[in-house]
Each structure stands twice: as structure tokens, then as C-alpha cells.
């Protein structure tokens, strides 16, 4: 197949998976939060269960005026949402949905992933800096400070997985989780990394992932009670929608990464390896849904930490724990 045609198909497929995925997560957040707060949530849009509410919201945002403040740095202000969107979508290039269902299986997949996912913070910083608003600027700078705090534990937790799997390719990492650990009565039991000793790594990765997504309890860059809306304050219309979608797409991608690294990705026990190309995507979606639910659960029960408390959490607890985790993983790898 022509290289460009192939590229186009892949991009189309990623968008076709990502954007509806983000919409579903938005709907899930609306409904789950409602039930946690003894409300009903969206009810009318779409006829039944308010299923069309995210679409209606999107349409509404499209009709709004796309304002650029007079004090804003025009070009940067306009560019920022696309940077955020791109950073999020680019992570999906290397997420495997099945043995053959992967856009590009890079040898340094994990490395690529961690590099690309930091791009969203660049977009946030651009948005905060260019808005010409003091609240936005504080929000953007908070996001930058947050990047320094959580990126290191995130990388270190992923390093332990790479050490255990012996590869940085995400397909390889999933394959390492399908290896038989022991057999009971002729039934081969394989375990995901979460059950193969990466408990600390999983916890660190989820906490740092929440910080990367800027969700409660780490939503200091937005912090509506302090900074009105942080870096989003001056955005409206379609550009706001880009940020909004980017946030939820980021949630889906983070959940997909967590399930790939720690929960066995598309793999599920008892399914014939040939069938995984069909069943795999569904399995991955189920795992993503569970993790997204946990993220939503956190958001609606916890308050927000303070910026300096995040720094202290990251540098005094997460990074030492992640280093210890790497050492333990290394020892286990050599000994076993």
C-alpha cells in the first residue's frame, strides 16, 4: 500500500476511535458524577438517558464566538489548543488494540509515549502565557511546575515495567504479560504486571497520570475556585472545545497506557491468540472503562491539593518509591 494512503487511513482510524471515546467518557462523567451526588444527570438530549448531551454541548460550543483577547499573543493563543490535542492523539499511535491492530509498533514505544505525552503541558503553558490574563498565566506556570513534579515518577514507574518486560515496545510489553507463569491442571496462567510485582509501580503511575491529566486532586492549573478557570479562562467556542475534548481524550489515552503497561492491554485469559484481533479491542475498551471510572470517582470525591503539596508528594514520596521499585524489579529480574 502507498505509504501516504496508509498514513491517512491510520490517522482516520485513530481519530475515529479517540473522539467518540472522549465523548463517551464525557457522558460517563456526567452520569456517574450525577449519581454520586444524588442527581439524575443529563436526561433529555437524544431522547433516552440523555445520551446525546456531549454532542449537544459540542454543538453549543461551536456556535459560540471565538474570542481572542486584545492583550493576547494572537498566534500562540490560537495554536495552543492544537498542541494539546496533538500531544494527546499522538500517544495513540503506539497503543496496541490487538496483536496486529497497532498503528506503529516502535521499538522505543514507551520512550516515544512519555516524550509525546509531555507535549500537552507545552500547549497548556502556551495557552496560559499567551492569554494576557494573570489568572491564565498563574495556571500555565502551575502546569509547568506540575510537569516537573510528576513526569519523573511517571517515567521511573514505566522504567520498572520496561526492565521487567525486557523491551520498550508496547507489543513486547503486552507479550511479556501473556507468558505462562505457572499451570494449574493443564490451564496455563499468565499474569499482568500488576500481579507480577508492579503494585508500587502501578500506584505511582496512576497518581502521576492523574497529575498529568490535571484532574482532581491535581487540577491546580485550572482550580476554578482560585484562578477562575486557570489557563482556560480566556478560551471560548471551538478552541475551548478542543481543550475540553483534549482533556477527555487524554483520559482515554492515559487509561489505555495504564492498561497496556500494567493490566495486560488487549490480552485476556482463555481467548485463543488468533481471536485476539477481534476480541482484543473490546477487552482494552473494558479495561479503559474501569480505569476511567476510577479517575472519575477520584474527581468527584476528593478536594484539590496545593501546588507545593504536589511537589512534596512527588519529590519526597513518589520518586524515592519509584527508585526503590526499579531496584527491586532489577533484583527480581536477575534472581528469578
Amino acid at each position: 500500500m502507498n505509504f501516504w494512503l496508509e498514513l491517512l487511513v491510520k490517522i482516520a482510524l485513530i481519530l475515529a476511535v479517540m473522539l467518540p471515546g472522549a465523548l463517551v467518557v464525557i457522558y460517563g462523567e456526567l452520569k456517574i458524577s450525577a449519581h454520586m451526588q444524588s442527581r439524575i444527570g443529563p436526561y433529555f438530549a437524544g431522547g433516552r438517558f440523555g445520551w446525546a448531551q456531549p454532542l449537544a454541548d459540542g454543538l453549543k460550543f461551536m456556535q459560540k464566538e471565538d474570542l481572542v483577547p486584545a492583550a493576547a499573543d494572537d498566534a500562540v493563543f490560537r495554536l495552543a489548543p492544537y498542541v494539546v490535542m496533538m500531544g494527546t492523539l499522538a500517544t495513540f499511535v503506539i497503543v496496541p488494540f490487538g496483536p496486529d491492530l497497532i498503528a506503529e509498533d516502535l521499538d522505543l514505544g514507551l520512550f516515544y509515549l512519555l516524550a509525546v505525552s509531555s507535549l500537552t503541558t507545552l500547549g497548556v503553558l502556551m495557552a496560559g502565557w499567551s492569554s494576557g490574563n494573570k489568572y491564565s498565566m498563574i495556571g500555565g506556570l502551575r502546569a509547568a511546575a506540575q510537569l516537573i513534579a510528576y513526569e519523573l515518577p511517571l517515567v521511573l514507574a514505566a522504567v520498572a515495567v520496561a526492565v521487567q518486560a525486557g523491551t520498550m515496545s508496547l507489543q513486547g510489553i503486552v507479550a511479556a504479560q501473556t507468558e505462562t507463569v505457572f499451570s494449574i491442571g493443564g490451564f496455563d496462567v499468565a499474569l499482568p504486571f500488576l500481579l507480577k510485582g508492579q503494585v508500587i509501580g502501578f500506584a505511582i503511575f496512576v497518581v502521576a497520570g492523574l497529575a498529568e491529566l490535571s484532574r482532581i486532586p491535581f487540577d491546580m492549573p485550572i482550580a476554578e475556585s482560585e484562578l477562575t478557570m486557570g489557563y482556560l479562562t480566556e478560551y471560548s467556542g471551538l478552541r475551548f472545545t478542543m481543550f475540553f475534548l483534549g482533556e477527555y481524550a487524554g483520559m482515554v489515552s492515559m487509561a489505555a497506557i495504564v492498561s497496556t503497561l500494567f493490566l495486560g492491554g488487549y490480552w485476556v485469559p482463555g481467548v485463543d491468540p488468533d481471536m485476539l484481533n477481534v476480541v482484543g479491542p473490546l477487552v482494552l475498551v473494558a479495561k479503559v472503562a474501569i480505569i476511567c471510572f476510577v479517575f472519575i470517582w477520584f474527581r468527584w470525591t476528593w478536594p484539590r491539593l496545593r501546588e507545593d503539596q504536589l511537589q512534596s508528594l512527588a519529590w519526597r514520596w513518589l520518586i524515592p518509591a519509584a527508585l526503590v521499585n526499579i531496584v527491586l524489579t532489577g533484583i527480581a529480574k536477575v534472581v528469578l
Binding site: 458524577s33 454520586m36 451526588q37 444524588s38 442527581r39 494573570k134 489568572y135 498563574i138 502551575r142 482532581i216 486532586p217 487540577d219 491546580m220 482550580a223 476554578e224 475556585s225 482560585e226 484562578l227 477562575t228 468527584w300 470525591t301 476528593w302 478536594p303 484539590r304 491539593l305 496545593r306 501546588e307 507545593d308 503539596q309
Partner: protein, 397 residues
Amino acid sequence: MTTLDPRTAMHISEAAVSVELETPDMTLNIGPQHPSTHGVLRLVAKVDGERVESVEPVIGYMHRGYEKLSEVRTYAQITALVNRIDWVSGFANEIPFIRAVEELAGIEPPPRAQYIRMILTELARIASHLVFMSSYPLELGATTPLMHSLRERERVLELIESVTGGRFHPNFNRVGGVKPVAGGGTDQKKVSQDLPKGFLQETRDAMDKVIDVCVDIDDLVTGNEVIHARTVGVGVIPADIALKYGLSGGNLRASGVDFDLRKHEDVLPYSSMDFEVPLGRNGDCYDRYMVRLEEIRQAARIIQQAIDGLPSGPLQAKVPRILKVPTGTTYVRAENPKGEMGYYVVSQGGKIPYRVKIRSASFSNLSILPWILEGALVPDLVAIMGSLDFVLGDVDR
């Protein structure tokens, strides 16, 4: 080779340390339209990064001139104004004013009216504190306690409405007693001389629900690690500073000062009620939160007792149709949910007061902001401001 004596070496190392990055202060204008200023408070903050150097509160956006308006209205008309001062606990605002007028006019309200006033004041206190229980976690970023608290507050407001006809602005007190209750559901179409049917039982049930929601709030907020991280040791007000700035209510008691006007003044028959005054120890945001949570429980206790001991009798003392208050001055204060609320009423005879000076709790509570916010972080600014629980209508009047 030259050797440095230790003292010089120390100076050199200190000089190296003291070279810091020069950062200009930024003036951050918070409000008057801002999610966490509870109305229209404006704070002009000088911030160095996230640290607040100084704060200057600008108030007056909500000024409605109630003291002046009171000078051209009859006493009965003024109650309609005063319950708009602190609108989240409208009923409690009427009490000190109406008691001041009764004192000047020499009218003693019947005990049943006093008990009904007490029940409704405590209901207003619960409603007000439930607003705090919803808005304070929200300011710290937790959204869910809001819904749970407001759900129960709705129940309390419905009770107030069933008696007074108004959810926020009851305007229920009359000089010498309380207004005859209008309506009261389908059973009582006519104007009744008593509480609506079933009110006492509904209130008991509602108090059980309120106690239940306190447990919910305990689960969601009190035990939460992040809440502890955000509030414990933040915004500490020592007792002497609190007294110096004239703080009152929960803010004063959180600093450990045992001062509750319900215990000290006999405006309402609290002396025959058995209740405790919760006190804090450290005077930080967490203590201010805990004091209010406990006050909800104590208010529910008072209401249960007041229902048990509700005397029978008329709702109104004998009051002339056209009330003329003799010359005199008085100051009557009572425990509002926000703190001490007092009215200094001057009468020169006649139907209207010569002067009404309103002492509202939030105004004094807010005056501590420049002191307490100096050196705080921007996120703490919100946490501290919320913990002081002021209402801008109560500040500006």
C-alpha cells in the same frame, strides 16, 4: 596560600546564599466577580509568584443602605429589611432587632412565641451552616459535599417556609410575638393562630436527616487526607488576635474562646436548653470547619428539646394597633450563625426609629483578612477566606 578566617568564610558563604532572583510583585485583582468571593468582594492582592504579600479588601459593592432606610420606616416594616442582611440565615437577623424594639416598647412576648422564634432561629442556623458545609469543600475543590448538604438544607428551608411563608426572607416576627401562620397545607385553609399541622413531627424527622447528613459530611470531608492537608495549620488565628479584630461566632470559638451569646444573653429562652458550645483549639481552617459541623448537631439538639418543651398559649402579646415606641436607646445582640449580630436602636418616640445602627458579624470577621492573608499562598487565600464564612450582604448592609 592565604587562609580565610572562619568568620570571613561564613560571610562569603552567606553572601552567596542571599543572592536571590529579583522578581517583581504582581497585582492580582480578585473579584468583585470571582467564584470564591461569596458575592461581590474585591481583593487587591500583591502576589510574588504564588505567595500573597499583602491584601486589601474592597467592600461596599453590595451596600443597600439599610440603616438609612430604617429611619423612614415603621418598626414592622424594618423586619422585612433586616432579614435581607445575611440572606442565608434570614430569620436569625430579625431576632435581635425585634427584641430591641420590644425592650424599648416594654412588651414581653408570650413564651410560645419565644420558643417558636428559637426553633426557627436554630433552623436558620442549620441552613446557614449547611451552606458553609457545601461551599467550603467546593472552594477546596470537592464538589460532591455540596449536593448532599444542599439537599438537607432544602428540607430545612421547606420547614421554615411552611411556618413563615418564605424560604429566605421569612419576615415572620412581629413586635410582641410572631405573625399568625397563614395556610399550612391542605388541611388548614384559613389563617391559623398556630403552627401548621404536622410541623413538629416533620421537624423532628428533618433533624434526624440533618444528623445523618452530618455523618455523610464526616465521611466525605472530615476524614479526608487532602482536606487535612489543605486546612490543618492553615490560617491560624490565635485567640488574642481574634479578640483584637472583634471576631465572633464560629471563627472566635475555633480559636478557643468560649463566647456564645446564646449562653450569655437572654434574648431567646436558651437558658432552659441543654446544649454545648463546641470549641476549637488551634484556630485554623480545620477547627473553624469542625466547630460549624458540631454546631449543626447542637442546633438539632436544641430544636428537639424546644419541641419537647414547647409551651402552649398565644402567639402575640397585646400590642396597640399603631405602635409608638417611647423615647430611649438600646443595644440588643444575639448569636447569628455568622457571629454576633446587634442592633443599636434609638427612638425619639413615634412610629419610626430615629436611628438604627447594625452591627453585623461578617463585617468584623472580614476585617481580619489583611492580617491573616499576609504571606499566605494563593490556594490558601481561598481556603482561609472560605473558612471565615462571611456573606457580603452581611458585610455591606
